[in-house]
Structure formats: structure tokens, C-alpha cells
Symmetry: C2
Subunit: 433 residues, 2 copies
């Protein structure tokens, strides 16, 4: 009996030519994290349910996938932060701090079935976990990391938006707002609902009309990073939290300069709120300038205590996350997937009516030189050979016929330049960058 | 409330210094598969249960992890072969054949809880799928691939055992055995139970005493590959399946020679049976010569029809699989994990009582040069700096104090050679291989 082959909705599966681009993007993220000496960890996808729900249920509990047939209650992780917290708590005496870790792996969420929503998707996270305190240079490192990654993806027009949650929290306090969490949650909607509706929301929260005006004026402030700092300093707010946030923000901005991040690629903006997150100080979101409608393509922030549900020790952290599956889908929909030039050239060896031994000696030589390559052992028509090579992204075809065998030559077709050349085996290395 | 942090039994989680070795092994496997132009695919870990169980239940059905809360019956994959079959069937019109694919990913099985048994573990598979027929050169490629991987792991004493199932099947037929599957399953136990018990088993299957003797004599035959071939040819067996198997085996052995595999690393052996598998022709298993007790560390074989449960098209294949999680555990237990020299040097920058800007300019230069590196932004005692560097496998520490700042020098400690040197920023590149 034949079962019709299909995959679950909400999972991504690519054809090889797309997968190569996806993997290259994944490799760029990995290499950049490693460049900054982040260490890899690889936690199990299966975790005890009690670990995943230690923070308390809510949205998470509804979205979590549970395993039906295990004696210990078991679920699939829904992010990489909870497993990191569990890992650090479990190994706190074996790890040295500051602990820089990255993890690039799939996570699972029972999302509604909808285009572009994934139930199984990659998160690419890097975090720095400190012991009691953590330098604000790490916040700057993370901004540099995002800028390297997106430049390697081929984008130069993007903005890493940065803010510090203490600024607004302190400002709200200075305006007599009690429930700052609820207010921030409203402010986070500014982009979607606009000034008038936001005013109404805040008024309904019991905030005085002139405070509401001050608050919205503040998030509407536009200026350079220096102007925004000057504006905040000019407000003359004497709230401790506000001043702490402002000082931290100034420090982060000064630090970013030391990392030589292009000034067009980052911006201190009071609009950025991330109302629903657990971030406590720096918050980061990244948009592609020409495709702002995609929303944030890389985000993060700092938090006071990573391990509060698993350990008594206080371990603050700061990190970023790139949702690669969703990003790949979005770029693909917009037809702006990165086009990578193959750094290492690949070869398809096509023997034409000759014994395989010559072809395999060429293959062995290519492998010695480290070039990805294969031999077509079965006879194929010329058109099929070209289709095969194109479809699997080979850079060269090496044709070997009777004449090549006798003269110990290789007839090489460069599929990028469309040129044909004739070389000896010894000259192969000149084609491999 | 604090939840005690722990992981599920049967899952592997490593500390960073172990994870680096694990990842290096994974990278070696990936690079070697790519060297032979295998293409990556990345199928979802979650599959429809009907896909996974299309072949029929049995052991599989008992071991499969089902998701409790999904509308479509969903399970975690238990291997990478069933997803490959589903993938190839789904995309058969978009793929070109021969299709060389690799997949390195976790699979899930509800194994009994026992040391060294994993419920979540990596499989590293590569397979070549042909359209109707498949060259026997691929079988030889796979032997070459295993030999490259284990040499890169630092082993040179290993044996890739090769056999062809048609030889024994045909021989059994020639000895009047009806149920060859049952007989082969018994033969597979030879190593464990020895000749006498095996004789009894076969007699009990209703095989005549002189046939039993012939059969066991055959699997006990010891000799070089050439002697084994000569022995089989000398038996004068006129069974079609036997002769087919012998011809295929000779072909594969001739092909392996063309790939220059060290003759100490592969062996045609009639003992290798793999009674429980779905392989139909070539079978492969690999043992470490000095650690035979570990069992097979890499195995595979060829099969007639990959996609029989999902497509009417006949697509034969041949492939290998390395169970990396189990292998890592075994090597670790024996204390013979590979020791990799870091190809790319990593740097820990330790500023001593100076402003961070000099340290970050050194870091920027290291990153420009592509060297993995980080700055210790918080003050640490000298001993702690060395502990940190050792624990996270750095190759160099760069100390930057007032003197280094004034002379624009770097005091570098080489943690491998234990030497101290003083260089300028421009000379950094000489340390980076």
C-alpha cells in the first residue's frame, strides 16, 4: 500500500538548491558567533515538562508539544533560553563566567496554522551570562555581531534599533504612572495604532492627560543618537531608574563606537519598547530599511537573572536571537534571498565512453585538493549532464573522452563564465580558490 | 519556587570543552560527505505518524515518540531513512538522479533506559539514490568516505568489513535451505554464540547436517580478499543469486582499489551478515581494530527500492550511517576521543588596569584576521584568567597593561608551547594559521 508522501503544515523543508542557501546563512551565523568566542552547546530537544513550565504556564503552556508515551512528563523545547537557564544552573560549578554560549537549533511551538508561521523552526541564539554583574561592552558586541551577519548576508541597509527599558520605566514613574508594565505594553502598540488611539489607551489606564502628552511626545522624539541623549538630559528628570537607563544607554553607545559599527546601521530610538519581554535593560531589534514590513529580523536584550527558576545564584545575561526559518521564508517571499558566490569551487566529472579509472584518478586528485566533486558513473545525454550540474550548483564540468584520456588532458566547462578550457590534472589547483 | 535542573535520561548533553570535540567530529563527517558532493537536506523532526509507520509497526511502533496534542497524528522521526524515502517520493520530479544527499540530525527512539543507550541521538547519513539502477562505484565511494572520516578522527587501525548478501542467500539456496531470512538471522549470531550453538540452531531450522557444515565452513573461511574470491569461485556453485552476489562483490572490490583506500582498512568477509536489515546487496560495517568490543562504528549497505511505501517508481539506493552520539559516548568511555589540534588559533585578550579602547582595537584586528577571540571586560585575578583560558580551550592570552599600551605592544602567552612573546598588532597575523 502506498502512503501519499507529505509533511506536516508549519514545518519547513527545502529542495537542495534552497537548502544550500539556508545552510550558508546558518554557517555565517555560526562563524560570526564563534568569531566572538561564543562556545557551542547542544541541549536535548526533549526536556522534562516541569523544566519548561517552571516559569509558569500562560501562552507557553498552550503552545508546548507534549510527548504522549513517556513515564516522565516530557515536552519539546519552545525556545533556547529556558534550556540555557537549565543548563547553566545544572553546570554552574563546572562553567567559568562570563560564559558566552551559542546554540543554533530547532524549537517547537503549536502555532496556529498560517502561512509564514512555523511549528518547527530554527533559532540562532548567542548569550553572555555573567556572575552577578556583566559589562555593557557585551551589549555593544551583540550590535557588532548583528551588523557583521547582515552584511555577510549581503544587506547594507539595515537598522539595529537600541533602547534601554529603564529610560521609559523611570520616565513613567516620574509622570506618576503606577503600572508601568501595562503602560509599556500600550506604548509597544504605537506603530500599529497611532497617536490618537494610544492616547485613549493611556487615559483609560488612569494616566493624567498632560502625562500622556509627555509620554507620547517622548516616544515620538526623532533625532540622531546624540540629539536623543541631549533631549533626555534636557528633560531634567530626577528619577533614579531613568538616570540609570540613560547612563547605561550612553555607555552602550560609546562602546559601539569602539567596535567601528557603521553609524547608519544602528540607532538609539525611544520608540522601541518590546513590551511583552523579560528584558530589563538594553533592548535590540533589527529591521531591513527597504523591507520594514518584515518586522524585526534579529532581536535581543539584557536580563537581570537568567536562572531564577532553577538556582539561587543570580546570573544576569544579554543575548540576541535570529529566527532563521522565518527569516528565510520572508526573504524568499520577497525574492531577496542572499546570493552567495561559492568560495570553494565544485566539480562534476563526466566521463564520455571511457573506462572509469581515469575519471576516478581525476576525482581523487580533486578530493586531495579539497574540492567538492563527483563522477557521473552512468552514461547521460549532454543536455542531462548540464541540467544536473546546474540543478545541483556545480561550478565546473570536467569532460573526459578518448581524446582527453590519450593526451592526459581535461576539458573543463566553467559554468559561471560559460568558457571552455583544456588543462592537465596538475593545473586543476589553479581552478580551486 | 526552584525546580531542580536536570535532563531526561537517555539524552546527551556536554560541557563546552567536550562539545567542541563533538562538533569537530560532526564537522569532519559533514565536510567529507560534501567533498563527495552529497547535498544537504533538512527534513522536519516531526513527521506524520502514518508516514513513519508506512512500512508497518513492529519494533518501530513500540519505540516511536508520539505527540499528545496535535490534530494530525504526529511523531518524532526514529531514523533518517524513512524521511529520505518520503522526501524523495514527494520531490521525485524536482530532483535529478543519481541524488546524493546527506543529513546529520537527531532522531528519537523510546529505548530502554540503560547506560550508552540514547533516546535522542545524532545520525549522520549519506545515501545515493538512483533511478532504476545504480553504479557499484558508489559502494566503493562509501568505503572511501568511511576511511577518510576515521583517519581524520585520528584512527588508522580500523577495518571496513564488506560483504554481499546475495552470496549467502544464493549459497543457502544451493544447500536446499528454504527460509533464507531465518537462516541468515541465525548466522548473524555466529560471533556471539559460536559454532556449536549455531549448528544446533540451523539443524533445528530443518537444514540437513551436511548443509549446515558447508554453511558454517563458509562463514568461517578466513583469507585475503583475493583468497576469499578464489575460494568462492572454487566452490563451483551454480546458483544465479550466488553468482550475482559474487560478481557484484568482485566489482566493488575492484572499484575500491581505484579509490586508493589503504588495503589494511577494508576487508571482504563472509562473516558479516546484518541479518535484521533491509539491505539487499552490499553490506558494510566498520570496527576499530583495537576496540572490536565497541561493535560497528559506521555501517551501511545497498537496497533495491527506497521509496516502495510512498511511490510506484523504483529507486534503488546505497548509503552509510554513523551514530555519532553513541560513538562519542563509546570513545569517551574508552578515553580515546580524538584530540584535534586547533587549525584556527583563538585568542583571549586580558586588559590589565587600562581603558578598554586599546583592548577593543586589538579585538577588532583579530576579528578582521578571522581569529576567534574575546576580551575579558571584567577584572580577573591572574590565576582565574589562566583557568578561564584553559577551560575554554584558548590558544593564546594577550595581556595588555600600561606598558603595552604605551609601546603599542602585545604580551602574548602561547598556551600550547607555554612561551611568552612580545609583538606589535601588525605581527598578530603571524600567529594565525
Amino acid at each position: 500500500m502506498i502512503v501519499k508522501p507529505s509533511i506536516l503544515p508549519g514545518t519547513m523543508e527545502l529542495l537542495p538548491h534552497e537548502q544550500l542557501i539556508f545552510n550558508k546563512m546558518k554557517d555565517i551565523i555560526r562563524e560570526t558567533y564563534e568569531l566572538f568566542a561564543f562556545l557551542p552547546i547542544d541541549t536535548p530537544a526533549l526536556e522534562k515538562t516541569e523544566i519548561l513550565l517552571a516559569k509558569g504556564g500562560g501562552e507557553t503552556e498552550k503552545q508546548i508539544y507534549n510527548i504522549a508515551n513517556t513515564s516522565t512528563e516530557t515536552s519539546l523545547r519552545f525556545d533556547l533560553t529556558v534550556p540555557l537557564a537549565r543548563y547553566v544552573s545544572m553546570h554552574e560549578h563546572e562553567l567559568k563566567f562570563p560564559f558566552k554560549r551559542y546554540q543554533i537549533a530547532k524549537v517547537y511551538r503549536g502555532e496556529r496554522n498560517q502561512k509564514g508561521r512555523y511549528r518547527e523552526f530554527y533559532q540562532c541564539d548567542c548569550d553572555i551570562i555573567g556572575d552577578e554583574k556583566l559589562s555593557k561592552f557585551y551589549d555593544a558586541e551583540l550590535v557588532k555581531i548583528i551588523s557583521i551577519i547582515f552584511r555577510k548576508f549581503g544587506f547594507d541597509k539595515f537598522t539595529i534599533m537600541i533602547n534601554n527599558r529603564n529610560i521609559m520605566n523611570g520616565f513613567l514613574k516620574s509622570q506618576g504612572v503606577e503600572d508601568t508594565v501595562e503602560a509599556v505594553r500600550a506604548l509597544d502598540k504605537y506603530d500599529k495604532i497611532g497617536r490618537d488611539s494610544l492616547e485613549e489607551l493611556l487615559i483609560n489606564q488612569g494616566i493624567k492627560a498632560d502625562s500622556v502628552k509627555n509620554i507620547i511626545d517622548l516616544i515620538e522624539f526623532e533625532g540622531t543618537n546624540e540629539e536623543t541623549i541631549a533631549h533626555l538630559e534636557g528633560l531634567g528628570i530626577d528619577n533614579e531608574i531613568f538616570l540609570k537607563g540613560l547612563a547605561e544607554m550612553k555607555e552602550v553607545l560609546e562602546n559601539i563606537k569602539l567596535f567601528n559599527v557603521d553609524k547608519n546601521n544602528y540607532k538609539f530610538t525611544l520608540k522601541l519598547q518590546r513590551g511583552l519581554d523579560y528584558y530589563t535593560s538594553t533592548v535590540i531589534e533589527t529591521v531591513l530599511d527597504d523591507y520594514k514590513e518584515l518586522g524585526s529580523v534579529a532581536g535581543g536584550g539584557s536580563y537581570e537573572n537568567l536562572t531564577q527558576f532553577y538556582s539561587k545564584r543570580e546570573l544576569p545575561g544579554v543575548g540576541i536571537s535570529i529566527g532563521l526559518t522565518r527569516l528565510f521564508f520572508q526573504l524568499s517571499e520577497k525574492n531577496i534571498l542572499p546570493k552567495f558566490e561559492s568560495e570553494e569551487k565544485s566539480f562534476l566529472v563526466a566521463p564520455l565512453d571511457i573506462d572509469m579509472s581515469y575519471a576516478i584518478s581525476v576525482l581523487n586528485e580533486l578530493h586531495e585538493l579539497g574540492a567538492n566533486s563527483e563522477v557521473l558513473y552512468s552514461k547521460m545525454k549532454m543536455k542531462k549532464i548540464f541540467d544536473f550540474a546546474e540543478s545541483y550548483s556545480f561550478d565546473y564540468i570536467i569532460f573526459l573522452g578518448q581524446e582527453e584520456l590519450e593526451n592526459k588532458k581535461l576539458s573543463v566547462r566553467d559554468l559561471n563564465s560559460k568558457e571552455n578550457i583544456s588543462i592537465s590534472i596538475d593545473e586543476l589547483k589553479t581552478l580551486i580558490k
